[in-house]
Assembly symmetry: C2
Homo-oligomer: 614 residues x 2
């Protein structure tokens, strides 16, 4: 069994890598942009759509409001980007929200940020995968019913790829990002030329184009909901700040310039798509993405240009999901290192990756895809809340830092971060209120539970450390007497072997026979006398035919007379058949005894196996 | 956990009984008849119906053929009864088919008979319960949809009652049998008076009375099928012969007279019910038994007399099923005693019953009831085949016995058993052929599999006995050197405790540290030097970060230099948190090591627990 498990693992994961093979390669800006911005940039694939899904509730006429809403979001993008620009320079070692918040505000805010980020990484995988699958099913609608299966398969694939170990610096990773950026910019460019020349076509309704019931008028709340919906565009914007150390020196300068380019691209693409969607008359439906509708309007039918855009979208979303597979295990390993998560999260697996974190992430994301039926639109209300929690905490942390250190120009820096913190906190409130009933409550419930979990894990480790510590430990007393009990059900080779072992570990050995049938006792005693070489045999009466009961009471009596510098060991003769099913044929008395002693302190149970040959 | 399990068991099963409380009470004939005949007599509740279910295929006109068929079966009852009369005198110690066949014909026929009987005991419980439930649902048709649930509940109830221990000699057990016999005889007597006076009414069709498609004409095959169907009346006829020792002395005489009375009652009741069913125009349907139809015709509506008959029927069927709960565990314990079944079947439980056999029987019968939807008619084709296998083997065994021992009058006795054997074998062939496609194949498949199972269990026990035997055993060599390895992941109180233990059982102790991170090694070595009191520490490099791998290779190397009179023990420091979930927070390295060594011979693994307080 073990060998087949090992070989399946080997097939999926590959040869183990030696610790010494760990490499630390630095990225130039052009690669860094590709690696760290896939998450942020790919969100333009669904953000516009989310705004439209809200506005449509007030009728088709309200869809035009998407443009002012998008402008608001673009401003927010730049604000948050500027804040992080400062963080990069302040934390050139890597300024994740967890470390910034914990460093400046203390454990609780740090853990809140960490919990929010972990939740959001899981959602990144689920949302990106679902949106990537949607790009494909928009192109080939016949696949739409299989979207959950496709989503889970994609997550499984990415999980395995990551367990094998992904070299993030590989050039192959730069391709999807630049293809997507190039594709979307070309699409928009071509669209604006058609618009300028007055030849822009409108999109024909797709098959699943259903009329939505108008249930609302244009209210402030609706606009705020639309704004909140569009805020999903900001997810992933923090990635560069987390990974400053991955850039070539001067790290902070290179990283901050990359961030500036990314923020610019994000704002332009998001605004462009929103405006173009409005011009071609795109309409929010589950079965076809807005990006696909723009492509269909401009290139008609299912031409090569259209298919290319859909494939590029699917690819960058896959890459975005892959990014979370680097971030989640890394953050969990930080938490585990600090004692807030089980130590297993810090284990480097066969391929030098944090395997346990990868597996947990893959499983959680798959579960979300299944629960939400693979629909991006259903998953999105959970998303973004966590992101804005971590944005806010990280900015507040920065404000606190400027106040504390007061370097030259700290007032201006503090003002920028303060503005960022205020804005993101305001957005967080909007998100919490407008999305509360759409699943936001679940995130707001899970966050404190996560933090509570982190704290009790930490408390357990602290207590354990104190109890295991050698400080003020006088060393255990020498064991002055070591009583060994050998329970026997008969006298056979296995028993004699066990007895021989018992006598080798102590001079104080007693055989213990539980007498179920008094007629057999004399025979056992005689055989014992012949074979046990003078070791004494205690016979325990068992009027109720229990083996474990009398044995336990006997050990209890022994324990009562055992001093703290004495030890009791139970040596269990156990014969091991060759085939597992043969175990079923024997009274599992040894197992029962083991179980009964599992919860006793201070008694040590040792199995002495005797292997049968057939 | 253990205590809650114990208390649930106590609630259901009651106080344990001491072995000395086992009693051996003897039954007078009047009680003996009640105890041993419930199985046989209760089968008249469904046997007639089964004949009608076959004949109806040739149309309503063919139902009259039930009377000659029933006469044939009554003759068969007397024939088999006479054969068993002889068996009782030949085996006053108890003449079960297993012992008679094994004694005279050898292991294979004996085991075949045993397998057939075990199968049939399971079917007895399933069929009797289903038929008992049918007696109730015939009276209260609204309960018909709940028959599976009711059946399973009844089996569970009887299982628990038997685990508590049933005193078969209790007077309460004589009541249902005599009530049923009295009730049926009164019913028939009243019916025949009405018939004689020409006032016998016919039954009005019940609600579920549907017309059956005529699919056959009256052929020899149909008549044989009808005959085979009626043979279910013979099930249970062997019970008296199995239990001779339960009678007061002279056992054989009392038992054989009881058998004669039982056979007479069985023949009369079965013939009477069949004739009366024809006279009142009873019709085979699933939703109402024939006995219920007779009662309804004679007493009209749902009068007290009618209800009484239904309740008596349900009661005797419950008792019949209860009988199997005595027979199955006893036969399994015989098989286990002879080494053909696991030893656990011979364990007397808390209440001095063979608990494991009772549980297996209850589970298997419940499963059958569920699979066959609680329909007696669907279960019956499986029944009877096993009974006739054991009848035939037991009679052939008797023939062989007369030939071997040749006591006075052996020719006559042999002729009687020979006739019995020939008849039952002929019936067995008829059953096998006519029921093959209705589920009989399953029984014919299971029987050889069971026998094969018995034989391989026996082979395993024989091999084990030889390997464990002390004959020609020169005793194991004295252990001359005992190497103890203590794998450590760090140096803390738990490790020091384990080390102290290791040093108390051998002078040859080595600490083993698997070095995953070379940067930590120096610190560990220093702490070890300070605390380990001079014990050596082996540091194993682990380039691939595995803990178990390097340890296993190290032990392999040790094993290579270990002579046959040396022993290796691995002492594992293990700290035990107070709450089970806290185990999840620690690397389960100790568990992994334990698992890895599970399949190694000759290496002994000892956990030394160190209990944390919180």
């Amino acid at each position: 069994m073990q060998s087949s498990r090992t070989s399946l693992r080997h097939l999926l994961i590959g040869d183990p890598l030696a610790t010494s093979q760990q490499m630390h390669e630095r990225l130039p800006k052009i690669k860094g942009l590709a690696v760290f911005s896939s998450d942020a940039l790919s969100s333009v694939a669904y953000a516009t759509e989310e705004i439209l899904f809200v506005l449509i509730l007030a009728g088709t006429g309200a869809l035009g409001l998407s443009i002012p809403v998008a402008i608001g979001i673009a401003i927010l993008v730049v604000t948050v980007g500027t804040s992080y620009y400062q963080t990069i320079h302040a934390y050139p070692g890597g300024g994740g929200a967890y470390s910034v918040a914990r460093d400046n505000l203390g454990d609780l805010p740090g853990l809140t940020a960490a919990g929010a980020l972990l939740t959001d990484y899981i959602l990144t995988v689920a949302v990106s995968t679902a949106a990537g699958v949607a790009a494909i099913t928009s192109w080939i609608p016949a696949l739409y019913p299989y979207r959950v299966m496709m989503g889970v398969a994609v997550v499984a694939f990415v999980t395995i790829i990551n367990l094998r170990g992904v070299r993030e610096s590989a050039t192959v990773f730069t391709i999807p990002t630049y293809l997507f950026v190039g594709g979307v910019l070309s699409l928009l460019g071509y669209g604006f030329i058609r618009w300028a020349t007055g030849t822009l076509p409108t999109v024909t309704p797709g098959e699943a184009h259903v009329t939505v019931q108008v249930t609302s008028s244009v209210t402030l709340f609706l606009l705020l909901r639309a704004f909140a919906a569009g805020c999903t565009a900001l997810t992933g914007i923090e990635a560069v700040a987390n990974g400053v150390q991955a850039f070539k020196p001067p790290e902070a300068d290179n990283a901050s310039r990359t961030l500036a380019v990314m923020v610019g691209l994000l704002a332009i693409m998001f605004l462009g798509i929103t405006v173009m969607a409005h011009q071609v008359g795109a309409y929010p439906v589950h079965s076809e993405t807005v990006l696909s509708q723009i492509g269909r309007a401009l290139f008609g039918g299912k031409g090569l240009a259209y298919v290319a855009i859909q494939l590029f979208t699917a690819l960058i979303l896959l890459l975005a999901s892959n990014t979370a597979f680097a971030d989640f295990p890394r953050l969990s390993s930080f938490l585990a290192r600090d004692g807030f998560l089980p130590r297993q999260m810090t284990n480097l697996g066969d391929r030098l990756v944090f395997s346990n974190g990868i597996i947990v992430l893959g499983a959680a994301a798959s579960l979300l895809i299944v629960i939400f039926g693979g629909r991006t639109h259903s998953l999105l209300p959970l998303y973004a809340i966590g992101v804005f929690v971590s944005f806010t905490l990280s900015q507040i942390g920065m404000v606190r830092r400027w106040l504390r250190l007061r370097p030259p120009g700290w007032q201006r820096n503090m003002a920028i971060n303060g503005f960022g913190a205020t804005t993101t906190f305001a957005v967080l409130l909007i998100l919490a209120v407008t999305r509360f009933s759409h699943g936001g409550w679940a995130v707001l419930l899970i966050l404190p539970l996560l933090v509570l979990g982190f704290l009790s894990v930490k408390r357990h480790f602290d207590h354990a450390a104190v109890q295991l510590s050698l400080d003020a430990f006088g060393a255990p007393p020498r064991i002055r007497r070591h009583r060994v009990l050998v329970p026997v059900a008969g006298v056979h080779r296995g028993v004699i072997h066990a007895l021989e072992y018992a006598r080798s570990i102590s001079d104080d050995v007693t055989g213990v026979y539980v007498e179920v049938n008094p007629a057999e006792t004399a025979g056992i005693q005689e055989k014992w006398y012949a074979w046990a070489g003078g070791t004494r045999l205690e016979v325990l009466a068992s009027p109720y035919r229990s083996i474990v009961g009398p044995l336990m009471s006997y050990v209890d009596r022994i324990d009562d007379i055992t001093r703290h510098d004495e030890k009791v060991t139970i040596v269990l003769p156990q014969f091991v058949p060759q085939k597992w099913w043969q175990n079923l044929l024997h009274n599992q008395t040894a197992m029962l005894i083991r179980l009964a002693f599992l919860f006793r302190r201070d008694t040590i149970v040792t199995d002495v196996p005797y292997h049968l040959k057939e």
